[in-house]
């Protein structure tokens, strides 16, 4: 065996910068684009595809025309400027019809109403989305749906006041019932509110409307369209489907047979049937079942079914998260004496919802895009409803890409924001709950 030479270091070596091949642009290129023969091939294929896309769309985009009164005029301008064979985008259609894409046929003199509602939406959701916003603003969040309802559809303010009063009475019942435990509180609250709405609300509303006709001019549902329609249906369904989905998920895991069976039946039925079928049900079938002459607003019907649809999917996402939680969490909550609802609210759901954020946001995004399907029940969604309407005008007959790109961009803006917010939330919760 070789003898070991003893060694002691007396001077410590200073740190030196890494060689050029380990840092900088060249290193990055080699590591990410040219690390293996397959990678080289893929890189060149990718570059070619990008080149092909850009070379075909760039001239079309560069030849864009903004100021024109018809597609024909656009084409004439393009031919004059870029030669007879040139193609170009005719954004003039957007310039001419943007208000219909955004607001449908909402009366122009009342356009401040949807704009106000949209602006206030951000105020209302801020305290829900960001914990740094003052909690007091949550009161506005609670009032917002009714305010939006009134501003958008107009009429006297009393129906909304009656709805709010019902919730107030329900809250009173909830507090009175609280001494009989969570279940007592919920049942008494629901009962009080329902009783108020069924019995005295309608006559009271008529009386008040007759005495104090405070209100805005009415706008009917068939004047809604474009993104106003998509956002109204989408935001409403998002806000309603989350609590409903959570309740369905809890019901599906309940020990009580009847509740479990109802929830399973509901979820499986809704998931098993295409949304379009449900929308047809909303527009046609409900008319058969409701007493003749009832005016059950089409947007409300669509809203309800889109909510059901999203809720069924959210229920399954949340159920997955619920079963992923260790049993010990339920047991610890039980052992501390927390009742079912408190355990769910304080221990189980905060953890389960955190796990289900990506799934829930995917459901929301899918649902928001699916609001375009309302075109099949005669509503003017931005993608097809409004575009078809615009193309029916002789001036814009034959225009094809531009409206779709415009609508697609706006959808992307909404959905990408949702997705970024979800990432922010996940990061934040990860930091909080190491």
């Amino acid at each position: 065996m070789a003898e070991i030479a003893p060694f002691v270091r007396h001077e410590m070596l200073p740190a030196e910068p890494a060689p050029a091949s380990e840092a900088g642009v060249l290193h990055w290129l080699r590591a990410n684009l040219f690390s293996s023969p397959l990678n080289v091939v893929l890189t060149f294929a990718g570059v070619f595809i990008v080149y092909w896309l850009v070379s075909h769309s760039a001239p079309w985009l560069m030849h864009s025309v903004w100021a024109a009164d018809s597609l024909g005029e656009c084409r004439a301008i393009i031919a004059e400027r870029w030669g007879p064979d040139a193609t170009g985008a005719c954004w003039a259609v957007i310039r001419d019809r943007w208000h219909q894409y955004l607001f449908g046929f909402y009366p122009w003199e009342h356009i401040w109403r949807p704009i106000t509602v949209f602006a206030l939406l951000f105020v209302a959701i801020a305290p829900v989305l960001f914990s740094s916003v003052p909690r007091k603003l949550l009161w506005f969040t609670l009032a917002y749906p009714l305010l939006a309802l009134w501003l958008l559809w107009g009429g006297t303010i009393w129906p909304e006041v009656m709805i709010a009063a019902g919730f107030g009475i329900g809250a009173l019942g909830f507090m009175l019932g609280a001494r009989f435990g969570s279940l007592g509180a919920i049942s008494l609250g629901t009962l009080a509110a329902a009783l108020f709405w069924v019995v005295p609300a309608a006559p009271l509303e008529h009386a008040l409307a007759a005495m104090l006709p405070i209100g805005l001019p009415e706008v009917s549902s068939d004047q809604f369209g474009g993104f106003l329609l998509a956002v109204t249906v989408g935001v409403g369904a998002i806000a309603l489907s989350l609590p409903m989905g959570v309740l369905l998920a809890l019901g599906r895991r309940s020990d009580m047979f009847l509740i479990r069976a109802l929830c399973i039946g509901f979820i499986e039925f809704i998931r098993g049937v295409p949304l379009i079928t449900l929308l047809f049900v909303a527009s046609l079938l409900l008319n058969y079942f409701l007493p003749p002459g009832t005016n059950f607003d089409i947007i409300l019907r669509v809203e309800i079914l889109v909510t059901f649809f999203a809720a069924a999917y959210i229920a399954e996402v949340v159920r997955g998260a619920l079963s992923a939680l260790p049993r010990g969490q339920y047991e610890a909550a039980d052992a501390l004496g927390l009742d079912y609802w408190k355990a769910q609210r304080l221990i189980i759901l905060p953890q389960a919802l955190k796990i289900s954020i990506p799934g829930i946001v995917s459901t929301f995004i899918g649902m928001f895009k699916d609001t375009t399907l309302v075109v099949f029940v005669g509503l003017f969604d931005p993608l097809k409803g409004i575009s078809d309407f615009v193309r029916a005008d002789f001036a814009w007959k034959g225009i094809y890409w531009e409206p779709y790109i415009f609508v697609g961009c706006i959808f992307f803006l909404f959905n990408f924001s949702m997705s970024r917010y979800a990432m922010y939330l996940e990061q934040k919760l990860k930091r909080d709950h190491r």
Binding site: A332, A335, D339, K342, Q351, K354, D432, H433
Partner: protein, 263 residues
């Protein structure tokens, strides 16, 4: 398994056992489907008594103590805790649960809440204690288990031994009259076992009624009034620790002790 040495052995000679009854289990039977997991359990626990339950894995130790706070339901016989009989009546169950603290093998802290919030949650929501008061109580018990400085951290940031001590503090914040421990040290690294056992010994010294499922025989010898040996869902032998370890009567007990003490 080794027998840790304890700084404090308890002088039990002059400590009189209160004759008030904390838990009374009579002719209790439980089945999981067709499997008869607990058979004719009879056990009376006096207030202030400290009972260690031992027995091979699968013998029904966990199931038995989980029946005491109704995490598991028994099908026959009677369980009376603190004068309240456990039936399907939810009111009674909630009452018993808020009087009985439980510490689990895997701690079961709530990972989304801070240590302090873990400790104040049940007092605030079950006992309706004002937040400030609940926080003071929580800090008091966190000091007792010697981790007040961790109050604002999350469970995931603590070592296993620290987490288990938080779990003990969390139970104590409900001011329980009875504490149940289900193998509280089995999931811990050896160097952390002692800190948890020390906490439990301290609790025992203060006269808490305790039922501990544990294989720490050193702990049993140091603090228990009584050791219960279970096998196949039955209580096979019970005795004071001295006689239980030095003079076991049943063959099963002898076999178990020889295995666990490694003689």
């Amino acid at each position: 398994m080794s027998q840790p040495q304890f700084d404090r052995a308890i002088d039990r000679s002059h400590m009189q056992v209160a004759d008030e009854i904390a838990i009374q289990i009579s002719n209790m039977n439980k089945w999981y489907g067709q499997f008869h997991v607990l058979r004719d359990i009879n056990l009376t626990v006096n207030r202030g008594e400290r009972i260690v339950i031992a027995g091979p894995s699968g013998s029904g130790k966990s199931t038995m103590i989980r029946c005491i706070n109704r995490l598991e339901e028994h099908q026959a016989g009677q369980i009376i805790v603190d004068g309240v009989e456990l039936t399907s009546d939810l009111k009674n169950i909630d009452k018993v649960r808020s009087e009985v603290g439980m510490v689990f093998q895997h701690f079961n802290l709530f990972p989304h809440l801070t240590i302090l919030e873990n400790c104040t949650l049940a007092p605030i929501w079950v006992r309706k204690v004002p937040r400030k008061e609940a926080e003071e109580t929580a800090m008091h018990f966190l000091e007792k288990v010697k981790i007040p400085e961790q109050a604002l951290k999350y469970p995931g940031q603590l070592s296993g031994g620290q987490q288990q001590r938080v779990a003990i503090a969390r139970s104590l914040c409900m001011k329980p009259r009875i504490m149940l421990f289900d193998e509280p040290t089995s999931a811990l690294d050896p160097e952390m076992i002692k800190e948890v056992l020390d906490t439990m010994i301290e609790l025992a010294e203060e006269g808490m009624t305790m039922l501990c499922v544990t294989h720490e025989m050193g702990f049993a010898q140091a603090v228990a009034n009584r050791v219960i040996f279970m096998d196949q869902g039955q209580i096979v032998e019970q005795n004071n620790p001295h006689d239980f370890f030095n003079n076991p009567q049943s063959e099963r007990t002898k076999l178990f002790l020889s295995q666990i003490l490694g003689h």
